[in-house]
């Protein structure tokens, strides 16, 4: 068991992350680091999309930087970011007391469950680009959505069996609530009394939001994005056709799917995708994802 750190209320954004790490580590999760390819949500990390599939148990927690190019506001909106953090927990098979474990994590970050109003409000989750859906809830704390809670039913068009439970915490929003801050850039990134100096979220990320917003909306060359997308699309089946020690190269192929997906998001933010084309692009990414998912399940079941 880790030290009793979880008893103290976190004092900063990074402390909140460490508290969650401690908590989920104590429950038996492996604590992973972010995946090093740009993704739009923590779910897309191979630790969730791929590991949710197949018969093997898997319990993991990690922070995933998430990029939503279209959500950039040049650092001028107090709630919206094109780069933000999700805290992701995946438990397979979901333990019977998963809801209580989740509520325990809220308590660990300092929310008193008899003072606040916590609700599980129906919200069926789906992510069409990876052919995934599940049933669950948005979790509300005093009227604010603080997490998404999902029992995965399908990923990559395949049934998830045993069922994996997924928790996604929007870290900035949760931190703003816990610390009573109205502007994300005012969040204490580290301890306000840190001896080496205190930084806010804005000190760390404001300039990044400004530059990336400009690049997302005006900077990227659409023709280049399109070509890169098509390159990735072409490479995925080729990569899957290669194998090492009798196993098709699913993991590198899946990284390429992620890249294609991010390139699509960039094209979308640039306004380069007509309404009518959108569905077809999403379908193309989903098909690639399905190829990877099937190959992965085959390997998992053979092992």
């Amino acid at each position: 068991m880790p030290a009793a750190k979880t008893q103290e209320k976190p004092r900063s954004f990074q402390d909140l992350i460490l508290t969650l790490h401690d908590y989920w580590s104590a429950q038996g999760c492996v604590i992973l680091q972010p995946h090093d390819v740009e993704v739009g949500a923590g779910t897309l990390h191979p630790a969730t999309v791929l590991r949710a599939l197949g018969p093997k148990p898997w319990n993991a927690a990690y922070v995933q930087p998430s990029r939503r190019p279209g959500d950039g506001r040049y650092g001028e909106n107090p709630n919206r970011l094109q780069h933000y953090y999700q805290y992701q927990v995946i438990l397979k098979p979901n333990p019977p007391n998963m809801q209580d474990l989740y509520l325990g994590s809220l308590e660990a970050i300092g929310l008193d469950l008899r003072t606040h109003d916590i609700r599980f409000v129906e919200d069926d989750w789906e992510n069409p680009t990876v052919g995934a859906w599940g049933l669950g809830w948005e979790v509300w704390c005093d009227g604010m959505e603080v997490s998404q809670y999902t029992y995965f039913q399908q990923v990559g068009g395949l049934d998830v069996s045993p069922v994996a439970g997924e928790l996604t915490y929007g870290l900035e929003r949760l931190a703003m609530y816990v610390f009573g801050v109205d502007n994300v850039y005012d969040l204490p990134f580290n301890d306000p009394d840190a001896p080496l100096g205190h930084l806010t979220y804005g000190d760390v990320f404001l300039e990044n939001e400004r530059q990336q917003s400009e690049a997302n909306f005006h900077g990227y060359d659409v023709a280049v994005l399109k070509r890169q997308f098509e390159d990735m699309e072409e490479q995925v089946p080729l990569m899957l056709a290669r194998s090492y020690q009798g196993k098709s190269l699913v993991l590198p192929a899946y990284d390429m799917v992620l890249k294609a997906s991010h390139l699509f998001n960039l094209m979308n933010a640039r306004g380069a995708i007509a309404v009518a084309e959108r569905a077809s692009y999403i379908g193309r990414i989903r098909d690639l994802c399905k190829l990877c998912a099937s190959a992965w399940v085959e390997q998992q079941e053979a092992a």
């Binding site: 606040h116 109003d117 409000v121 049933l135 109205d182």
Partner: protein
Amino acid sequence: MPQLLLELFSEEIPARMQAGAARDLERMAREHLAAAGFLPEALKTFAGPRRLTLVVEGLPIAQADRKEELKGPRVGAPPQAMEGFLRKAGLTQDQLVERDGVWMAFIEKTGRPTTEIVAEMVEAIIRGFPWPKSMTWGTSKLRWVRPLKRILCVFDREVVPFAIEGIEAGDITEGHRFMRVGFGWGGQPFKARDFDEYAKGLLEHFVVLDVEERKARILEGCKTLCFARNLELVEDLGLLEEVAGLAEWPTPVLGDMDPAFLDLPGEVIRTSMRTHQKYFAVRDPATGGLAPHFITIANVQSADGGAVIAAGNAKVLSSRLSDARFFWDEDVKVGFEPWLEKLNGVTFHAKLGTMAQRVERIVALAGEIAPLVGADVAKAKEAARLAKADLASQMVGEFPELQGLMGGYYARAAGLDPEIADAIRDHYKPQGPSDAVPTAPLSVAVALADKLDTLVGFFAIDEKPTGSKDPYALRRAALGVIRILLTGVRIPLSDPLAIAWLRTQAAHEVRQPVPTAPGIITKRTIGISVYPDSEFSGEVDPVAQAQLDQAVAELLTFFADRLKVTLKDQGKRHDLVDAVFALGDDDLVRIVARVEALDGFLKTDDGKNLLAGYKRASNILKAEEKKGWKGEGEAELLPNASEPEVALHDALRLVRQPLADALKAEDFTAAMQELAGLRGPVDAFLDGVFVNSDVAAERDSRLKTLAAVRDAMGQVADFSLIGG
């Protein structure tokens, strides 16, 4: 008699599914118990955020023993037949008894214990429950709406022993998810062996079982909060139902809203509160306007009286309303023309083109309807052109239910003609049975054009409603048209339907209606001649005209069906609508006036008898017409005509002019009174005259007289379609 108590305890059930689940549980339990031969004294179900509960009073402890008689083969039947029968009955031949030359088996079946039947019933209910969406969890193979955690099942105060996929039935349930007696949080388990213990235990553990009780507590709590601050609750039954499904211990908490937001339209504030946050709005009784507060229904009663909850929710609401303010400001800046541009890129339906194309059709149709309803043509076209623009606004993107309404606000903000702004606002109306019907001529023109275009479009691509499926809400559209027209708007419905059809057909690939003998015959040669200024003026070939007639007839039949439903709700007979529609009229106001007069007439003695006479006459005529009789020319009295023949002739002659006058004046009650004058002579004729005389001239004269009766009555309604 013993009682059965069942509770299926799960993780949070979506609020919108709870009421249906309670009904399904009740139905399934009733069916299973009835199939086992039980007739319980009382059966009740409850549904809430985490539990479905069933209580059945007055079940016996076992089924009654039953005696069954089975009829076997005849005495002397082939041995195979006997063997088969014995196998089926599970008996040997010496156990059979001979009766009237047939072998009979008398089997006594011992009734099974109720607990066995209950165990089977619960398993069947769980495995077959019709959740709108269900899921699996962990390694279980079970499906439920969310993970099923516990089964409490007691009969006659004893646990019914069974297990389903590892979940064992017991006598334990648990209380509120957070609230408990003493320190800490979390559901406390407790034991219940019957319903009284169960209901009492739940209350002690902060759970209100009955949704009606939860709703009552919410309303009462809201009103108490309002009273203390001299506020008034904005009641919202849909929201009440929903929040009662989100809390086991519903606790209203009043929070404050920044009054600066009150300059937003009230509907925007209320919609944001309701759809995003599930809050009730409150009014200031002095002004009738919204007050800067809200009420949220919390699931916990917190030690600080809800202060933290109120503050947290207030913050969320502020950020929601800031978004709404942002949308408003942006929308006012952008305005109508760029939105209309955007509608070019919005698909209305794959087969019916873009929203911009739809707007063009509505503009044309509104312009054509305008003169018929007393609206200015240019204004009607302009209102129709702008009516759909707000679909591209940010606010409507966020709150689709504010379509139209926002367009109206934005039109006023842009300084447009208030009549046009109102027409934009009201053109979707009436939406539901309680929604107001537009009456301003301009609004009527656009509202009719909008709905008729929808109906014609979807009929043209063969997307008519079937059974309970009506994905494009065409029934509601037709009903909307009917309600608007019945405020006294007189238009021949065929004309706009025909032109809308031609216009849809010109722009899109539509089905070709196959002309059949239509239920409703359109009165006029429609379309073309009516709108000489339209792009469809000129000659049409007969095939196209026949298809158009058929298309319009199908649409009118659809209207007739909706009208029947409307009139049936008012207690009118549906066959009267058929009888009147069969005349080929397409003016709903006149049709309803006829139906009402007819309804009144058929309730009188004269009416009933005349209808009976009509039926006799028309049966005779039908039989003769089948044999080839053609009644050409007027009926002429023969010199030797009998007294009843003369009397009927006189009556028919006398009724002709007044009947025509009454119909022309659309005084249908008077027309019915004229017909009533025929009753006596018709009865006397049918009773006293032998129609099928051997003398051909006599027969012909008498048949023609009956035909004249049929024709006279036929001007008022097609009496052959009226049931006896």
